[in-house]
Symmetry: C2
Subunit: 350 residues, 2 copies
């Protein structure tokens, strides 16, 4: 697997690197405990996880709880800019962040294929640990299953997350009104295009996944006082998927400005070459923001002050209407209907 | 798959029963939303889940939080006494229960194989719904991924659970002392043997999985006032696995009484026929209880008043010692060392 070997995560290399996961590692007895102690607890250990009970006993959370879950099934496991471990942490953190929550705790459930190299598992767990540290969250409980060769492709990871809702925050499609403006925090499509080109071993220099944790950027945005109505991270289905889902909640149309969509040169080139619609491509470090019309500048200002929002842009607006369509105006001013992303499934993007 | 077809869960049969999961169902767009609305929300819907946000907004929980996670990868999906959906709910509920928590909320993350019959998914979701209702818990957030044929075997389910610790309860290996007595709430081995014989299509009448939610039984036990030190549900690794794990926490030996172990006739017969050690077999509706020596009768009395504890029994005790071994005295009084369950992995039991 040359693709997977070419993106390194710093971690110690030991003599056991050629060791592989066996079914006995999943039997729930000594080997399972050894695997958990050596490969998980040594990296992720904290006072909640260390007792290795059936559950984690956590302190009370003062305020409204927010809970989320996400399975990461990305292929390949390692790609420019990230890996399945980093993605698993970011996906839970971002699901909490876009609901207005401060992420606090994660669970980590691994499903391992018999024969997986323990060195590969170790690289992934190191990546989980580094991402947790960067996000200020802790893995407090876990589960490890091993299934026979062929019953799963290498490793799948579930992360469930628990957070505390930021006081006074109310976000949701029910708050959206005609006239609201639509923003994104930066260039679109890099994650999905990176996975696609890495998986197919296209030579396409310059593409790197945008996977990143959004909680700090969202905090900055909400603290700005801008009247933020709705937030969603455009992962599977891309920006178009988020907007069509939004349209199910009101008698609206959405009008987008093709020229306003931030795109990296690499993503623009890849989309043109492969005939893909950037609006459809998955992202892992982006957020679609719907904000009251009077607060566009305030919101953009807050986003652009953050490293993950330097290229934030207004890309369109919500209007009253009954077509239920997302329309894109191109460079010559003509509007076209943006297709819903149903025709070209790109599986295992996240 | 005749084995899977022979255990029915009541659910409506529609014309779409021959429909199958496609990659587009996992793309995060219209088909994903349709699948979630038609097959999940219609059965599991509640006020927390219905908004289909990235996360669930929950009311504050007054007291100490308990969080757990579990992946269900059982094969076959349907077996006498249960199915993967029921198991997924019980495993999270039981992990909370044996930590002394009242289970409240679950997340549900599905990983579906392209080509899975939607009718099969529907049966499983109905089973999840029925089990949640029986346990008094709600699925508040979810995730659905579809992976290409061969990347997963039909369906894997992750459930993470959130509960509230019962006030005044403190359980754990750190509370165990020499002289403490070991109880189980009923016959051992039925789940693991059912999976084993169903998977291999042995004709072995009378075996039915014991999968059951333990929260109510545990509540009864804790309310009895018995000095309960440690609880653990003996799933993978069986009773032996739990006891060897316990021995890592102190300078103890554990002495068991072979004749005291409750076994169904079917389980006894299957173990003899297959040469299996009942102490090693996985259970899904059983709990190992360690209780202070003076409180055995009180604890057994409380357990036996509950339908899931009618056959509760004292099976052994913790003694001071440094061998770190679990010893079993047989009918002639000789003691033998009980092996740790590491030699005969039975994968995908739960």
């Amino acid at each position: 697997m040359p693709v997977e070997a070419s993106f390194e995560v710093a971690c110690p290399v030991t003599q056991s690197d050629r060791e592989r996961i066996s079914l006995a590692h999943g039997e729930g007895a000594r080997l399972t405990r050894k695997l958990i102690r050596n490969e998980l607890l040594s990296i992720l250990g904290n006072d909640f996880l260390r007792p290795l009970g059936d559950s984690a006993i956590l302190p009370p959370i003062d305020g409204t709880l927010v809970m989320t879950t996400d399975s990461s099934v990305v292929s390949p496991l390692f790609f420019p800019g990230g890996d399945i471990g980093k993605l698993a942490v970011h996906s839970a953190v971002n699901d909490l962040a876009v609901c207005g929550a401060v992420p606090l705790y994660l669970s980590l459930a691994l499903i391992l294929e018999e024969g997986l190299e323990i060195a590969t598992l170790r690289r992934i767990v190191h990546s989980v640990g580094a991402a947790c540290q960067a996000c200020g969250v802790q893995v407090v409980t876990g589960d490890t299953k091993v299934v026979p060769r062929g019953a799963v492709d290498k490793i799948f990871i579930n992360t469930s997350g628990l957070g505390r809702l930021r006081p006074g925050v109310e976000l949701g499609a029910h708050r959206v009104r005609p006239g609201d403006q639509i923003l994104v925090n930066g260039v679109i499509g890099d994650h999905g295009l990176t996975i696609l080109t890495t998986r197919n071993q296209f030579e396409m220099s310059g593409l790197t996944s945008d996977t990143a944790p959004l909680h700090d950027l969202v905090a900055r945005l909400l603290d700005s006082g801008a009247d933020v109505r709705f937030l969603r991270d455009p992962t599977r289905g891309g920006v178009a998927g988020v907007l069509y889902e939004l349209l199910e909640h009101g008698a609206w149309e959405i009008h987008l400005d093709e020229a306003a969509l931030p795109l990296s040169d690499a993503a623009r080139g890849a989309c043109e070459l492969l005939g893909l619609e950037p609006w459809h491509i998955a992202n892992e470090g982006k957020v679609v923001v719907v904000v009251g019309a009077n607060d566009v500048d305030r919101a953009l200002g807050a986003l652009r002050q953050h490293p993950l929002g330097r290229q934030a842009a207004r890309i369109g607006e919500v209007r009253a209407g009954t077509s239920g369509e997302v329309l894109v105006s191109g460079v010559l001013g003509f509007e076209r209907v943006l297709d819903e992303p149903t025709g070209a499934p790109l599986p295992r993007i996240c």
